[in-house]
């Protein structure tokens, strides 16, 4: 494989982390808990498979008629006083948000979890202009204090132990060290309470956008998004254009599927739909509500019909949670906004196939992700297709020669037999170089023994037998 900087970094970090047994067991333990909860909640469904199929069909309809749904969505939002903005790329989205923030002369901004915000590097842009931005989701708050990107797009601080979190809080907030998750949570609660009450602007993401009624839907457990959308005078929601669901009642299916697949809860703590700023006769809520619709190459992905279903994703994280690659290399190794299988599928579309194709090769194609996905995205086959597309576009010359030669060998059984005989001789001398740099099988033998060519191959056995 030709090596790009992103690929080199991936390999380097994967090498370090796969050797880190403490990290491996931390992630496995955390995800084991998830798995048990998910299985028990999945079992409550009367028919999970039909639910999955219907969810896939609803999303299929949403994406394959996105132009009409999106226009409806915007029109319905605007009818009730929401300002809808359209951003073709990250820069435009940042500029739209910065313009609102500048105009309000905001002193403090509170954010609930916004993965699209990570995608467009919103915090950096706001901070560069001197605005204070506070992440309110506990996990996001922790990684923000540590100046790290989220480790997992649902569980951002999953890689940290309570000890590490306590240290971070002690250093950044001056709190007394503690190893109680409860106390740590309360420290964050106290700090963030102050922020909510004073913030001028709340920024949120959106898990779904309902075309029929013109609403965004936000799923969360902590109540931080509820507060973010209740107290500040201005609420800005940033959402990818693919988040659309056609009908209000589609949520009756999607909310429990998201909760179950994503967190092992039938419903997460708060599932809230926002259809506008404070309406006449209402007592509170923001005076202004802005929805920023972000394309940022989603239409590029859409133009590939084979992989278009990747836009069905509701970012539940189930595919990460079952992914043996994710469990061993961890979330930061990907170097992407969206980690795990879905990240490996969409990143090449969003950020360039040649630069990010290594992610499609970094998979055993086991299909665990596809089986787990509640909206039936054909994840692992998309990785296979991306490999094909990347190679068709730009083959690696030595691989091409090797596979040509191999094809020739495989098509000439006599040569193949001869090859095996040579292998039998070769393996006598192999111990001399085994697992060293000059071992032609080094990639295999650095950690494993090589299988031996049998004294009698199958075809030899067959010939002798007749």
């Amino acid at each position: 494989m030709s090596t790009t900087p992103a690929a080199a970094e991936f390999k380097r970090d994967a090498t370090t982390l796969t050797k880190d047994l403490r990290h491996r067991s931390l992630i496995r333990t955390a995800l084991k808990k998830y798995e048990i909860a998910r299985d028990s909640k999945k079992a409550l469904f009367q028919d999970w498979q039909s639910a999955r199929q219907t969810a896939a069909e609803i999303k299929w309809d949403a994406i394959n008629h996105l132009d009409t749904h999106l226009a409806d969505f915007a029109r319905n939002l605007e009818a009730r006083g929401t300002r809808v903005h359209w951003a073709s790329n990250a820069e435009q989205a940042r500029e739209i948000i910065l313009t609102i923030v500048r105009e309000k002369k905001a002193s403090a901004i509170v954010k609930s979890k916004v993965m699209t915000g990570e995608e467009i590097h919103l915090n950096e842009a706001l901070e560069k202009e001197g605005f204070e931005v506070v992440e309110s989701d506990l996990g996001e708050f922790i990684v923000q204090l540590r100046k790290e990107p989220p480790y997992h797009f649902v569980f951002p601080a999953m890689h940290l132990t309570r000890g590490q979190i306590s240290e971070t809080f002690a250093k950044e907030l001056g709190s007394a060290p503690t190893d109680s998750p409860e106390e740590l949570t309360m420290i964050a609660r106290r700090v963030l309470r102050g922020k909510y009450v004073t913030a001028d602007i709340g920024i949120s993401g959106a898990n779904f956008g309902i075309a029929e009624t013109g609403m965004i839907s936000i799923t969360e457990n902590e109540g931080n998004a509820r507060l973010t959308c209740a107290l500040p005078k201005v609420h800005i929601a940033l959402m990818g254009i693919e988040k659309i669901l056609p009908k209000f009642e589609d949520l009756a299916l999607f909310l429990p599927m998201l909760g179950t697949a994503g967190a092992g809860q039938t419903l997460t703590g708060y599932n809230s739909m926002y259809g506008g700023p404070r309406q006449p006769g209402e007592t509170d809520g923001p005076e202004e509500f802005h929805v920023v619709l972000l394309d940022n190459k989603r239409t590029t992905l859409m133009a590939d019909p084979e992989q278009r279903d990747a836009l069905h994703c509701m970012r539940c994280g189930a595919c990460l949670n079952v992914c043996p690659i994710y469990k061993n290399v961890g979330g930061h190794t990907y170097g992407t906004t969206y980690q795990g299988p879905i990240g490996s599928v969409i990143t090449p579309h969003l950020r360039g196939l040649q630069q990010w194709k290594h992610l499609s090769f970094a998979s055993s194609l086991c299909g665990g992700c596809t089986q787990a996905c509640p909206v039936k995205i054909d994840l692992h086959h998309h990785l296979l297709q991306s490999r094909r597309n990347a190679i068709a576009q730009r083959p690696v010359w030595w691989e091409k020669i090797a596979f040509r030669a191999l094809s020739y060998l495989f098509n000439h059984a006599g040569l193949f037999s001869l090859g095996m005989k040579l292998g039998r001789i070769g393996q006598i001398f192999h111990p001399l170089v085994k697992a060293t740099r000059i071992d032609p099988a080094h990639a295999w033998t650095q950690s494993r023994e090589l299988p031996k060519v049998a004294p009698e191959t199958f075809r030899e056995w067959w010939q002798h037998r007749k």
Binding site: N328, S364, G368, P395, F403, N411, A443, A454
Partner: protein, 238 residues
């Protein structure tokens, strides 16, 4: 029935007993075996690496040679999935698409063939050992094979099957992935072997020798008290 046996390249070279066991089992059941010696490989390594033109060079020959076979049986879930699921994709929109689909329809993985097609679950085998079963991902998820090998093992005298906690988790072989990302592949394999060891089994049994080749390589290097064995070899014991 005349059964055409497709022997994948690495089974031919390194695990001939797997193929030989399959031959003996089918013959005992009264079937005739045909072994097309000019076929060596299904083309999966090139396919999974993105080289589909090169894959077709190999697969073309398979399509032609197996055209008139009655049924084709493969002793590997992974190569079975290649022919059953991926050949039709490889040839989608080409003149050979129909041929690929026809071949896919008459191709079976070994345990699936025994149980679903021949209706045999008891082969009179005897293997007095504790074993755990590894579901190869391609057999499990591409072909939906889960019950069949367990039904076969349940009838093996003296055999005690203890399921491991992560039976359905990939062992990390993944074909060329194991050489492109050996560190990830090996870490995954270590987890797998760890969970097999927890069962106290003497053998990891599977219907896929490719996974076992990787696992055995790790076991040997780390000197773990475990062995790997293809299910055909167990079913061929007396």
């Amino acid at each position: 029935m005349k059964i055409t046996l497709f022997i994948p390249c690495f089974i031919d070279a390194c695990f001939p007993k797997v193929g030989a066991s399959a031959v003996e089992i089918f013959e005992r059941l009264g079937h005739t075996i045909e072994y097309p010696q000019e076929l060596t490989c299904c083309g999966q390594p090139a396919f999974n690496s993105g080289y589909w033109d090169e894959t077709r060079e190999v697969a073309d020959k398979v399509l032609v040679r197996l055209k008139h076979s009655e049924v084709v049986v493969i002793v590997s879930g992974s190569c079975g999935a290649m022919i059953k699921n991926f050949y039709p994709q490889l040839y989608a929109g080409t003149g050979q698409e129909a041929a690929a689909k026809a071949l896919a329809a008459k191709t079976y993985e070994f345990t699936d063939f025994l149980v679903s097609k021949l209706g045999v679950t008891d082969l009179g085998a005897r293997f007095p050992h504790r074993v755990t079963f590894h579901d190869g991902c391609h057999g499990l998820r591409e072909l939906g094979i889960k019950k069949q090998p367990r039904q076969l093992l349940a009838h093996v005298q003296g055999l005690e099957l203890i399921e491991m906690s992560e039976a359905e988790t990939c062992c990390g072989f993944g074909g060329t992935f194991s050489a492109k990302f050996p560190m990830i592949s090996s870490a995954m394999g270590e987890n797998k072997i760890g969970s097999a060891l927890e069962t106290g089994a003497e053998y990891i049994v599977s219907n896929d020798s490719s996974c076992l080749m990787h696992q055995q390589g790790l076991i040997d290097r780390q000197k773990k008290p475990l062995r790997t064995l293809h299910i055909a070899e167990i079913l061929n014991t007396r």
